[in-house]
Symmetry: none
DNA sequence: CATGAATGAGAATTCATTCAT
DNA sequence: AATGAATGAATTCTCATTCAT
């Protein structure tokens, strides 16, 4: 709350913003520290007061952007307990894909970099408020469904990777199909993935 | 057959080999032209006799390695007409995953770069013997099944991206599941993807 | 006045000086940026802090040296209003030729590069103090003569090019005549050029 | 006349032609040996069978082109003995300027490089048929005029340099005057230069 | 004679990082 | 804390020249 602390935060943000703009427009490798500080309208040396090197600001950005994305998605998801687990996940994916379609720079940035390793770290391991609450939300979602699943992680892993991997080309190049076609396909596959993992009571 | 032509081919190969080793061990961006020619034991200028720049040798490598991979897979696939389409594709994926598991450098190289755009270009558009014959093989496979499908491309797209995206972490880090578990999951999902696209006779 | 600003000026000067020495001794094309920074005892990268490339430092040098030259000449010219226009210009040329004779590196540098385009830019278009005052001086000179001329520019153009073109070989190789002989010839021709352009009153 | 000798001559010519095209279009420094042999459709090594290096082919070209130019001019000059020396030289300059105006690549090449040193060498010292006959022609011209001159060389030197120096900018940029205006001016000055050098009999 | 593959020195330029102010 | 001038290693790419075929 101190003026100085706030000033520092603003500079940090300026650096992150400038870096994101440059990373998404020119590419990470083509962006130099010089470019970033210039974009942030700060002096070159100042960069090193906030980040160790380019990879540090990069990692922070991937994490931050992914967290932001899922935070927005959760807000948009209807929280009523009426939908089935399958419907909820399909809806989530629908919102996600629409958001990426609306912000192609974000798609490019996320899709290229959000391998499972990062996703896992951000979303499931927690460590910051956003991801902690995502993890909680996800756990509750499964619990509330009243159903049992083997290997939660594989379930979400397959879904995340499938969505991430398939929407990239479709959104950017409409290749090999259009986005509505892909969504339809995903809406069919996701329930299968979920049901595959369900532990069915023998009594049934 | 000329001695000179053979010498040239050998140098070209030396450059490609050196580049592949470096790309997979240090990463593409961390590899300089100097590194490559040093690895190939050639003079710096010689590189430019064979390739325009790093991106050219890189693209050629991705294409070549992908082509090699699929060429080997087809050889290993039993050609008997007894398996169903689903079984054949599942088998193919099985062999592919095993190969990537056995050659992690190749996995790293392929998985990072074999987005649909490249795959499509190499495998479906043809232009070189390997991909031409893969395309033929794939067309024949569908024809021989005696079944009809909407949107071949979406079918193979989903499968390729799903396999590519999911096996990366599993093979490299055994995360979030082991490879056998992933294979099992894929063996369940792939038939669903295929059947999703099948056009069923109304008579049925 | 700041220490830093002064330091920067000194480095800039060091680069210009080193470049001039090298350009005049080895030739422009044979001089590399490496040579220049080495001569200035600076690091290679420092060059690019002050100049975009070799052509920029080169252009600046031509401009600067030409401006310096004319600045010195004007100081040496007697400012009394007693000489005729012809005498003043002949005197100017005399001083100019003597200066070039005394500094052959300068002659070589100027003569090769001071085509009309550059001369015009430096001396007549202005943009820096030196050239502004030269232009003023030249305008005043004509005005004070009380005479009228068609096409000032052609007049000075012919004189500049004639002097520049003829003194090069004479000074450097004493070919095809000696310098005093050339001066005598110029002293005869210049008044003719001037009178050629004069507008004579019909009343005469 | 041998087939082989002729073949060699043709290759030599191809190199000279290619070099001239490149020198005038891209500039001498920007032209590499590679460019030249490529233009001549010969192998790289072949260049060195005909010329030591770039400067050798360059010098030969300047000489050759200047000789060609003057050879054409002499053909176009009316050989009748009726014109005065002044008129003949003015006419010569007129033809020369028109030729350079018609072939700007030639102007650029000649004007940039034909300092007195080269002109003298080509035109007055002789060494090849063309220049020998130019020298003869020039000597005869003066002899036939029946007049006597001090310092032939200074006379032609002043004229050559004046014309060369002044027509460059005028032809290429119409600056600072148009070509007809320059020609008019030269037609006035040249006779003055000639008469300046004439030795007048006291008896007259 | 002619070729053109190979060489490797050297040129221009960039950039992460340091450090005096 | 912040600045930005300075550094020099590293990179890409060019090119004259050689020499085996």
């Amino acid at each position: 709350m101190g003026k100085l602390a706030e000033k520092k935060k603003r500079k940090r943000m300026a650096l992150l913003d400038a870096a994101y703009d440059l990373f998404t427009s020119k590419g990470v490798n083509e962006t130099s520290i010089s470019d970033i500080v210039q974009g942030a309208e700060l002096a070159k040396g100042t960069f090193y007061l906030y980040f160790k090197d380019k990879s540090e600001i990069y990692t922070e950005l991937v994490t931050q952007k992914a967290a932001e994305l899922f935070s927005v998605i959760r807000e948009q998801l209807p929280g009523d307990g009426n939908s089935s687990l399958e419907d909820t996940v399909v809806q989530l994916v629908d919102i996600l894909v629409d958001m990426l379609n609306a912000d192609k720079a974000l798609l490019e940035f996320i899709a290229k970099n959000l391998r499972w390793g990062v996703f896992h770290k951000v979303m499931l391991e927690g460590g910051n408020e956003v991801s902690d609450s995502f993890f909680e939300w996800y756990t509750k979602l499964i619990a509330n469904s009243g159903r049992k699943f083997r290997n939660h992680n594989l379930m979400i892993y397959m879904i995340v990777e499938l969505v991430n991997a398939t929407c990239y080309n479709v959104i950017l190049y409409e290749e090999p199909v259009t986005l509505p076609e892909l969504k339809e396909e995903l809406a069919k596959l996701i329930p299968v993935i979920i049901r595959n993992k369900e532990v069915v009571d023998k009594a049934e």
